[in-house]
Each structure stands twice: as C-alpha cells, then as structure tokens.
Amino acid sequence: MLRKYALTMGLSLLGLMACGQKTDNSGGNSSEGSGTTAQESAKETAKAEGENNSDVTLSVSIWDTNQEPGLEEIMADFTKETGIKTKITVVRWADYWTAMEAAAQGGSLPDVFWMHSNESERYMSNGMLLDLTDYIKNSEVIKKENYPTDIWSLYGYEGKDYAVPKDIDTIALWYNKKMFDEAGLAYPTADWTWDDLTEAARKLKKPDGSQYGFCLRPNNDQAGYYNMILDRGGYILNDDKTKSGYDDPKSIEAMQILETWIKEDLIPSAETMSENSEDVLFQSGKVAMITQGSWMIAAHKKNDFSLANADCVELPKDKVTGRRVSIYNGLGWAAAANTKHKDEAWKLIEYMGSEKAQRKQAELGITMSAYKGTSEAWAKSAPFNLQAYLNMMEDMEILPFSRSTVSWEDANTELVTKVYTGELTMEEACKKMAAQMNEKLAEEHAK
C-alpha cells in the first residue's frame, strides 16, 4: 500500500509543474521553424487551389458575449455571399490573451480574431499576424481614408498593416434619473465640469452608506481618470513612448480630483468596488453616476433597471482648461500569419470592414463602427441619449499604449488601489506609477 501511495504522491508533485508548460523556440530554432512554415504554407496553397471555397470554415475568436449574436448575423450574410463558413468562439477578456499567447506559441491561432492595442505590437513585431498591406492596397472595399487614422496606427508596424478597424469606442457619463429627482438636482448636462460632478456627488451621497454619488474603480483608466488627466492638460505617455506623464504636475492635479472623491467617500470603498463592478453597483441602485465606454451599451439595454432609471450624457469638462476629451480606442480584425486559408481570412476581414457590414454592426447596436459616417444608426439602437457618445468624438485621444501596456497597467492599478486604501497619497502614487512605467518603457526600447 505504501508503494501505491508513494507513486500517487509522486504524480501529484509532477502535476505541480504541468501548468508551466511552454514551448521554447529560442534563437537557434527560428530559422528551422520558418522553413517548416514556408513548406506548410506551400502545401496549403496547393490544397486551397484544389478546394472549393464552400468547404472552408474559418475559426473566429472574440471576447465579448454581448456582441456575439449580432456578429453571427453579419457573418451569416458573409457566408451567404461567399460560401465561406465561420465559427465564432467567445473567450472572456480575462482569459482571451492567455489563450492567444498559448495558441500563438503553439502555432494554432484562430484564422481570424479581434486584436487590441494593448497587445497588438507584441503580435505584429513577432510576425504572428498576417500582413494585410497588399490586400488592403488591392481592395475595392477597404479605403484607409474611411477610418480614423489613429486606429490604423494601432495595428500598423514598420509601415505594414496587420488589422482592419472593427469599431470605435468613446466614453460618456451615466446617471440615475430617479436619484437625481429624489435629491432635487437637475440632471447632468454637456456643460458640466468635473467639479459639478463632485458637487452633485456630495448631495447624492447618503450618510448611511446605502447610496453613493459616483463610482470609479482603481483600474478604470480608460473610461475614468485618463480622460480627466487629458482634460487638465496632463498626459499618460509621451509621443515616442519613452516617458510616463503621471508625474507631470497637471496629471497629478487631475488625479487629485479622484483623491477628493476617495477622501470624502463620494465613491464606495475599494473593498466594495473590488467585489462588484461599476455597472453592477449602478444597476443595483448603489451609486448615482458612473462613466461607461460605449461597448457597455449592450449590457444596459438588456437591463430593466437601466431602462427604467438611467440615461447618459457627455463627460464633464475640465474647469481650468474647458477641454472635454474622450479616450477612444478601436478593435481590429486580424488574421493569423500561419492560417491555412489566407485568402478566405482576408475575405472575411474585408467583409467585416466594408461599409455595408459596418453599417449593419451599428444598426444592430453591436457597437459604434469604425467606418466614418456609419455610426449614426447606432445612436438609435437603444432608448438612451447615445448621441452623447457620438458627440464625444469631437475631441478624442487614442488610448495610450506601448509594447508592455498590460504590465504597467497592472502595476498602476495596484498603486492606485493603495490611494483608495489610504496607504499612499495620490501624489506619491503618481510618482511611483511614473517611475515604474519609465523603467518598463526603458526596457522596451532596450530590445
């Protein structure tokens, strides 16, 4: 019996390391590796020529369940038109990049998938994505001038394009009409400043902690404090991505507005917010206002509480500069460099980027579309003042990113959380964030 147990123990020990599995492809192997890929692709082209398109099923990966039904519908049109079938897999955001990382190393990326600016540079610079430059040049449907230049820049590397813009997102302020009525306050307007928001939050807050005026999680940079920093004239990352702007006096000033909210308990505690996301707190009547990206609409238009009580409006402006910035970002449709169906993958990407599909994406209320002038239909896709999101496009700045975005963002979240818990002042946290970002940026450029 002892022996049997000992064996099982040994096995459990071995299991410990299993999660660390990674294929290694150090420098020496890379030439060998590319040889095989070339061979394989030659074989595949030969095969593809002999095959009818209708036999091809493209694997497609996305991370947003809310968008799946709408995209299915558009892709059904695509299948009708071309005979190429598609199969969508949804992997939630938190696991998407882990799965992609493993797939990329194992050479089994899906044929077509969503790309995000947080990760794009790593994938492009390592040759993981299919080079679309020539396809785009020869395309009748995709004309670069029809999409915001900044979104192309997210998915361009060394003069080549690796994705076609899918959508565009901006930020707006959501408020609970009932709570404003109860407090006898006028609803927020497009003329609000962040200080007006602070003022209103003070009045909306109930002393027993059953209701808070506002809500902003420590990790809500894109829909939260990035906008405030840019409004004030600060910055997050300089243009050549070598320096963090968190220690800029203007950035600190803007972040100190957040510190006021924390200190006066105008927002729920970090504990509460870590257990419940902002939309949950808003939709359960705990907070009166939140900032939300346009990608969240799908979650609100299906929610009875939001439908009955909520509406949205443009973000507040900065009191000093009068500027109202919306951080914006856009996803891209990319294909794997080693896909077996290069031409079919391009056809799908081209279709998804076409004016027709982009317009349908907006009409179905999936998201705002990247194709200029197609998003108006989106504003009517839900009974909220979605025009606010379109108006936010008047002054947009692209979401800051560099090669190691995810890494410095994660560290920043941890530092901002320390301000929420009172371990650091905002000024200290900002200086630490700048320091750790600068360190990581230096490392990026050392490569």
Partner: protein, 301 residues
C-alpha cells in the same frame, strides 16, 4: 528471484512476453506523464535561467539572476507566507472534518448513500463555478452571509481575513474527496477489533482513538501528503475570487498566482518559471520531511 539471477540475462519466452506486455500496458500513462509533466518540468527549469522573449523567442541566458531576484523579492516572501497560511488552515481542517464525517457515514444509518453523495457533490462541480458561488455568498454588500448574520464584514476584501475565507472554500470543496478516501480506509479495518474492544469495555471514543486512528494512519498520511502538495499550489480559488483591484490581493496571492501574474500578465515567463521551481523545491522538501516524520505515527500492518 534467486533463480532468475542465476540464469543471467537470458529471458524465457514467457518472461519476454510479460516484459513486452507490461510495458505496453503502462505505455499510455508513461507517454502522458512524459508529454504533460516531465517535459514541461524540464522546460520550466530550463526557462528559469533565461530572460524570455515574446512567444518564447529570443531567450537570453541570464544564469542565476532570476533566482537572486526571487530571493530578494518581498512580494514572493509575502506570497509564500500567504500560501502557507492557506495550507495551515485548509489541510488540518479538511482532514479532521472529513475524518469525522467518514466515521459517521461508515455506520449503518438511514440514507447513508444520500449523505455521502451530497458531501461528495462539490467535487463534481468545476472549481471556477464553486468560486463564483462563494464569491456571491461572501459579497460584503449583497452576500447571503452578511445578510444572515446582519454583519458588514469584508470577507474577501479585508487583507486580514480574505486568505482564511478562501481557505474555507477550499475545505468545503475537498471534504467529499477526503471522505471517500477515508471511507475506503475504514472498510479495510476488520470489525472484530471493535467487537473485541467492546467486550473489553471500550467506549466509542476510545476505540476511535485506539483502533480507528492507528489503523487508518496510512490513509491519513496519504491524504495529508497529497493535500499539502495541492494546497501549496492553490490558484483557481484566488484567481476567481480576488480581483486585481482588491485591497486584499497582496495578502492573499499565492506563489502560483504570482507565477500566473508574471508569466501571463507581465509576459515574463523566465521569472514566472523561477517562482514555480522554487515552489517545486519547497514542496519536495516538505514532502521529504513528511516521509521522514511518518515513521513516528503511521502504522502499516
């Protein structure tokens, strides 16, 4: 054996046959072990000496640098402490409770198999699902626990108690598995021992301590060793329950959680690998100590 030795290395055809079939039978397991466990272990150890590049390309050899960094890193020591805290709560409680349950459910009572099934049920559910359910039970604003006790405790976001709250989930989900092992062990104990003890006037409690415990000690030892190993690897519960904005993150993240953060969030696979190698060595050490210690309290018939 002695006869075989005399013959030297010449096999009879039957021995040859048995040899081939023997290997054939264990081949699937061996292939699985090599591909899923042994190669990754070697790979992980190998990578711990490198500064790894994107997608496993362009690794740079850095010798022991990662190890020096690990030992100087306060975060790692804190994570080690968190892991040990988790293990110290999870292992003894899960063993003690499931042992009592096993003894009770080994008696002939009505609905015995129903109870056994209910207690084993958490084992069948996916750990992620279990964590989600508990996350809601623990929720400080909307959770059932605070609602029942009329309390306002931050079960999973207060740095001082979050790790123990997670250990409770761990205990709850492993009870059934431990219990089944103990039940199997209990059924190997001959009933005559208890009869004899009863005739000699032993009470239920004293026969538990004098008959059940010693005779069950090999099973207890097995459960102890495997639970210690498993609890040192705790990850999924923490990952599901603790968000990266959670103030308790620093005081709950385990070594494997840190490995995940370094390898998959920060894309520093070399450093992540180093953390797991350290954990492997630690686990080996603890297991060896237990193997030595067992001589004092485990009785094999």
């Amino acid at each position: 054996m002695a006869e075989e030795k005399k013959k030297g290395f010449s096999f009879t055809s039957r021995e040859k046959n048995e040899f081939i079939w023997g290997w054939l039978f264990i081949l699937p397991t061996i292939i699985g072990l090599v591909v899923l466990n042994i190669i990754p272990i070697i790979n992980t150890i190998y990578q711990s000496f490198f500064k790894t590049g994107d997608f496993g390309r362009g690794n740079i050899f850095v010798g022991l640098q990662n190890y020096q960094k690990v030992f100087a890193d306060k975060e790692i020591w804190q994570a080690l402490l968190n892991t040990v805290r988790y293990a110290i709560v999870e292992v003894p409680f899960s063993i003690a409770i499931s042992l009592v349950l096993a003894v009770l459910l080994n008696k002939k009572i009505k609905g015995r198999s129903v109870y056994r099934t209910i207690i084993f049920l958490p084992m069948v559910a996916a750990p992620a699902a279990i964590a989600m359910v508990w996350r809601w039970l623990y929720n400080s604003d909307f959770g059932l626990l605070n609602h029942i006790f009329h309390s306002k405790i931050n079960w999973v976001s207060s740095p001082s108690i979050a790790v123990y709250s997670i250990a409770v989930i761990g205990i709850w989900s492993i009870l059934g598995y431990n219990m089944v092992l103990f039940l199997a062990g209990l059924q190997e104990i001959p009933g005559d021992y208890y009869e004899a003890a009863e005739i000699d006037g032993a009470t239920g409690i004293s026969s538990f301590f004098n008959i059940t415990l010693p005779l069950l000690s090999p099973t207890i030892f097995f459960v102890l060793v495997t639970r210690v190993i498993a609890s040192l690897q705790v990850f999924d519960l923490i990952y599901m329950v603790i968000d990266n904005t959670n103030p308790a993150l620093g005081k709950t993240q385990s070594l494997v959680y840190l490995f995940y953060r370094y390898s998959f969030v920060n894309k520093n696979i070399g450093y992540g690998s180093t953390i797991v190698v350290v954990l492997l060595l630690l686990t080996l050490l603890v297991t060896v100590l237990q193997m030595i210690g067992q001589k004092k309290w485990v009785y094999y018939n």
